[in-house]
């Protein structure tokens, strides 16, 4: 079964959508990855962002949640999706750094919040999620079936 899949390792700040069956893999710490899947056309994609909101300084890249989410959805539309067929699964947003209090920190938490907020605004239901906690995650997304395999990492990576 594995053989019919092409593989893509998703690096932080990037995103990937393809109509062919792919396994898309990534590793998450405080970053968040959104797997988006078209239940009618049976394909999907994933992003992997590091910070919640673009600060207006750097290149407007999918390193930032607000940009990464819209770019992912746009890319799905580009491949022919309708908004009503899209479902999302969100992962990551752990707090790996110890005792980060105060508003400026809590990056994981803020990353998750922007995902939930923006998906709700765009009427895309979140059908599954595994977020928060203190451990990193390894995610494997099958973009044809929409299935996600998920494992916690013992050691922190990112």
């Amino acid at each position: 079964m594995e053989n019919r899949y092409l593989q893509h390792f998703l690096y932080p700040s990037s995103l990937f959508v393809n109509k062919e069956p792919f396994v898309i893999k990534t590793i998450l710490g405080s970053c968040v990855a959104i797997c988006i899947w078209d239940k009618k056309l049976k394909f999907g994609g994933m992003n992997h962002y590091m910070l919640p909101n673009w600060n207006g300084n750097d290149l407007a890249s999918p390193k930032y949640g607000n940009i990464a989410i819209d770019k992912l959805i746009e890319r799905m539309f580009y491949y022919g999706s309708n908004r009503k067929d899209l479902v999302a699964k969100i992962f990551g947003g752990g707090e790996l750094l110890e005792a980060s209090t105060g508003n400026s920190m809590m990056i994981g938490e803020r990353n998750i919040r922007v995902a939930r907020l923006m998906l709700e605004e765009r009427n895309i239901p979140i059908v599954a999620s595994s977020t928060g906690g203190k451990r990193g995650r390894k995610i494997i997304f099958f973009n044809d079936t929409g299935e996600v395999r998920h494992k916690f990492l013992e050691k922190k990576v990112y």
Partner: protein, 299 residues
Amino acid sequence: MSELTDKQLLRELRLRLEERKKFDNEMKELSKDFQSVTKKLKESEALKSHFISNISNEIVNPFTSILGLSKAILSVEKNDWKKVVSMVALIHSEAFNLDFQLRNIFVAAKIEAGEIAPNITKVNIRSLAQTVIDSFNIISRKMGIDIDLQFNVEYGFGKNFYFKTDSEKLKLILSNLINNALKYSYKDSKVIVKIWVDEDILNISVQDYGTGISEKNQKIIFERFKRLDSGINSINRGHGLGLSITKSLLDVLGGKIEIDSKKGEGSTFSIELPEAKNVIEGFSGDGNDVFFDDDDEIF
């Protein structure tokens, strides 16, 4: 409802008040963030229109020169062939510049589309640095600037020091740093490129003796489209993307960049680049790993 004693009531009220205060603070923080981003967006919009006029100059001017010069070459008399050499040199430098700027723009577009990923190979750092420096030879010679490569890697195979990283990205990073150093240098000075290794970290610094950057401006030079002399009358060319691209590329490679500069005395840009690992934890580099573990949760 159960009856509350005065004490309990007071405590409850105090708790709620504190909660309320926390939310208030958060609101304040958020609205501050919001305001600053709005301001940034407005600035960004203005910079973007600047960028478009910059970029068209950046592309149109070299093309005009290339077209004009090649036409001139075509109509040169046979006994005037010596003129051709200098015109070809000009064509080369215009085309070089065009190629370099287009590369930057395409990379920026790729970064913004989220399509950038490290492509790791063993890179011969010395020859990479030499290639980049050589590519600026004609420009530096014209300005009378000597680019001095100080390669201080003692261990390994000496001349053939290999380092796992992304060669194309490192080339563009170094090209941007050298291009800036040349652009802001005075005539007949020098640029020093130093390369050394600390543990697993590759260090490269590019030093010039040019105009330098004030402390205030050091903070903003990494912002996209930002140029310190972004007036219509600005002497220097450029689109203001070079350093933000450099920074984003370093992000991809897990590296850092620092500036040390004094106005009027020149600048040193130093980068730190960790050696890339073949295996990303849990995944082998070529992707031939087993991914059906028993303890995988399925969503």
